[in-house]
Point group: C2
Chain length 193, copies 2
């Protein structure tokens, strides 16, 4: 054990992930693919101006309604003054960058654990370019969302670079949020009476 | 003034939005489209297991580096126990739902203000269906991200339903996050040395 390889806190733990439980989860889903059906949910309330508050608690997954969260999580949104807000929270497109980083972090940590790679540190820098003419309705030629996103990983781990490159490629192929951003997701919208 | 039409706190304010400043912003971008160029940024650090912390502060927009935020915002990510996490924060795909709601709230509030519609209340319910076989790498036929997202608006406002329907359609056409989810965004990825 050196300073760069933290002692596991359980016999089967690597990167803070219970590797036996991870393998058991994968095998359970292999045997019963219905366990892979998840539904995630959120409820959001506008709070004036650019401000909103979203609560997240229950979801369905692994064959049942999840009740593990005793309190809802709260996420806040706002805009900076230059976009007519009051800077009480990040804006929506910034929150998309946070979701992408969070997703890739989980993917790297879990898949590294499954491969026996110990991650010492993992950071992401993200930037997204956006032309506001789309949101402002000033041009049909300009999309409202990001024109592109650039992402840089910085990983320190006990594996050679080619293994880390392969790990990152695998994580990118299987990342839910990267897929949501890179590929079309159908969104149905209803205005309640 | 009635209970359902809050008094504006400034002569030009509606829905908590400075309507004069909104119109001035739109006109400034019309005259100088370079002002519409924005770059948003985030930096994220993995904290073990499924946990990560993202900080968001500076961005470029309206022709300059924005320095209005004296402190960074922090967003946290984690997974529930059924997904091998510790439930300290919402997961990444739940955060995507929050970003979508936040974006549509801004769009409704701002565009209603520009049209002279006063919003009394605005809520969103969101749900996203996801098949975990994609993330787990168990099937090439299953996408990792949401198969679909369903969104319901509940709006109380001083306008007839047909105007609210038209407002929502306009907001959906110009929503940055809805565009990011519904349509492909190129994402470039680099693994730093």
């Amino acid at each position: 054990m050196t300073a760069t390889t933290p002692a596991p806190t359980a016999a089967t733990e690597r990167n803070g992930v219970d590797v036996d439980k991870l393998i058991a989860t994968v095998n359970a889903v292999k045997e019963n693919p219905a366990l892979a059906t998840f539904q995630f949910r959120a409820r959001s309330t506008w709070e004036g101006g650019g401000r909103s508050r979203t609560t997240i608690q229950r979801f369905y997954g692994a064959g049942q309604e999840d009740t593990s969260r005793t309190q809802p999580f709260e996420l806040h949104g706002d805009e900076p003054p230059v976009l007519l807000g009051t800077n009480t929270a990040p804006n929506a497109v910034e929150t998309v960058l946070a979701a992408l980083a969070s997703c890739l972090a989980v993917g790297v940590a879990y898949n590294a654990a499954a491969r026996g790679i110990t991650i010492e540190s993992l950071e992401f820098d993200l930037q997204g370019d956006l032309d506001l003419q789309g949101f402002l309705g000033l041009s049909d030629q300009v999309r409202p969302g990001y024109a592109n996103i650039a992402l840089t990983y910085r990983i320190k781990a006990d594996a050679p670079r080619d293994q880390l490159v392969e790990l990152c490629h695998y994580v990118q192929r299987t990342s839910p949020v990267l897929d949501i951003i890179r590929n079309p997701v159908p969104v149905s919208v209803e205005l309640a009476d």
